[in-house]
Chain length 145, copies 3
């Protein structure tokens, strides 16, 4: 992975075969990023799964084969002492039609250009909210206490 | 709504049932934001309408039920003394296929994570351009005078 | 084209009939931008072609007629002494369904609002990588030498 920054604004280049979540988590750990947005990513996936939340679970849609990454957006927080990465995205294949949703997993094909904007000194949380059944972003953990 | 900032870079968390345009307009009024980009939003809508401009009007596509928000991008300006918010976006449902366009209205489902980048000291305009039939962004109101 | 900035953060308004790549390249040349991200663009195209990389070439999907621009993301680098612009995007037409991929060409319809974040003092490269058959972003040209 290549990674360059200007202030709080980063651009990463993820390499072919990288696991998307592992690569971003590794970057966050190395650079001490506990709070960030991921404005966009473009490139290709060669394998991916997108989820639709039906209120009880993520219904998955699995894709194999190269796909153009057309949308990819998210946030980096901390949960259980590790990076917690929330991504939504969409891809297009040979028919050029877009499919996507909540990103469950993805492997990079060819390359992925990914922007990250950090919030230095902050740590976002992502606690499980039982009434929802999902982990939910908390921008100010402890602020309600 | 939670809202945190680092310089000109904000991240908001909109709550379930929020009206998307009212929530962003309320934020803009409270914080005095008259010029900004909305790089992305992710989360869910439980109701939304997307428009396609046919040259004379927006042909609407109404959705009910929970949808994953996969694309959401826009700008904040001022028009008629109020925030003027322009958003395009797309969502996916249980079939994981994306539908979208110009966002006419939306209600947040579960949550929406939304980034905002402000241009302090600026005020973008969005005057009606009669020849087009639409309000059109003006980055430097008065500059042509 | 209108263009305003706050530090490294720009917002451009491209006019109807503009060629997307020529307009961005002209901006990059005028402002000396050799390294940047394009977080998003919204507005309309009236003509566009999106490619799917099949491993050997881009299979094109050509669209005519007005389309809502729902996703548009990319990077600006330098190659052969000129701006090298990589864009992925998607549009929706009257059926509100999204089609997209690697942007091969596009003409602006009505207007296009486009954000650009620059990396001052940097120059990204986009050398041809023969083993891939594509130009690939290099964030630190010469760093491996």
């Amino acid at each position: 992975m290549q990674a360059v920054r200007d202030g709080t604004h980063w651009l990463l280049k993820l390499d072919e075969n990288s696991d998307l979540f592992e690569a971003i988590a590794g970057f966050a750990e190395r650079e001490g990023v506990h709070a960030a947005t991921i404005p966009f990513g473009i490139g290709m996936f060669y394998e991916a799964s997108f989820g639709y939340w039906d209120g009880a679970r993520y219904q998955p849609h699995d894709l194999t084969g190269r796909q153009e990454v057309v949308a990819l957006h998210g946030t980096i927080a901390r949960a259980d002492g590790r990076p917690s990465i929330h991504l939504h995205g969409a891809v297009s294949g040979a028919d050029h039609r877009l499919v996507g949703g909540h990103v469950l997993r993805a492997k990079v094909g060819v390359l992925l250009e990914l922007a990250v904007d950090t919030f230095p000194g902050r740590s976002f949380g992502r606690p499980m909210v039982e009434s929802v059944g999902l982990r939910v972003l908390d921008l100010e953990p402890g602020a309600d206490v």
